[in-house]
Point group: C2
Chain length 195, copies 2
């Protein structure tokens, strides 16, 4: 399977940073000011993140141009994710600052595809919010820091801010699995219209 | 106290709709495609909503122009709310569709100012998410429908989707209180730069 054109474009733009982390091979969409990346431990299949390319912690740090580009990208990625994952709704959430639960000090919008009853066995419709702030949503250990080898996501430094709604252990995905999903989503984004 | 210029502008644009509800006197900011309104039962002081003027249920229903205008407004309102309420962080959240917990089928971004320890007595930092989907966040009974007299927000039709984290009863605010806050926030928005 040949490399998608958009992935070639992303690799040429490397390195792409998410806070202190290098995430280039997890990125599936790139615009002048914004990128979208797959997750190490998605809360639900298709849970992705959209960030400005410039590493800034707060929404108010963005320029108007960056703000428009970020949310036009959220809208396009959301449309693709809903289609590809067969969803009927989406949660879109930004924890803007540490006191709102932000774990990596770099603006990121969570886009999480939802279906009727998808969390019935895990605490109900709104369990997604607990999970966003539970172990699964804590991104700080999710990506290798620059120059580090990936250690997996079970490190003792992991913080737990909210009781988990279930006891299932979600193992971090391999880099190969994330890159495979990034390629697949890159191809799907190429089908989306620019509007 | 004289009526703020921006409120005069809003009243001339009346009626402003939030789904099936008329909310003109709760609106404190208006742009070509977007408005911001105060809440009947804010989760925390300064919890406001930003919506497109066109009544559409989903983010993907917005045009690119509406999308940019909505989120540039979110950013400007967020900056004002953080300043006026002395916050250090913000939660920004959209329940995009019924299966993501949307109660009123009209796009709306919640902006909720946060401070360190603000929810310590009510379940901790992330209780905000439970509350967003608990009784307090259910907006369907929050505003009088067109042509109806306000009944308060304790109606039996109210749904509870998530266990509440506390037992305190939050009474709906009066229209007078909401209008007072709308005027105050309108004046504060007039101080914000356009960028």
């Amino acid at each position: 399977m040949s490399i998608p054109n958009s992935i070639t474009h992303i690799l040429k733009a490397a390195p792409i940073h998410f806070g202190p982390f290098t995430v280039t091979t997890q990125v599936f969409h790139l615009t002048p000011h914004t990128y979208a990346l797959v997750n190490l431990k998605p809360i639900l299949p298709g849970h992705v993140l959209i960030s400005p390319r410039r590493v800034v912690p707060r929404v108010t740090d963005l320029t108007p141009t960056e703000t428009s580009d970020l949310f036009l990208t959220v809208r396009r990625v959301a449309r693709m994710i809903e289609r590809v994952y067969g969803a009927s709704s989406l949660n879109i959430a930004i924890q803007d600052g540490a006191d709102a639960g932000q774990s990596v000090p770099h603006v990121h919008a969570h886009v999480i595809p939802r279906k009727r009853g998808d969390l019935d066995s895990r605490g109900g419709m709104d369990a997604v919010y607990e999970m966003l702030d539970g172990e699964e949503g804590d991104l700080r250990d999710a990506f290798p820091r620059d120059g580090e080898v990936e250690e997996g996501a079970g490190g003792s430094s992991r913080r737990r801010r909210f009781p988990r709604v279930d006891n299932e252990e979600r193992k971090p995905r391999s880099l190969e699995e994330m890159e495979g999903e990034a390629w697949r989503l890159a191809r799907e984004m190429e089908k989306e219209l620019d509007d």
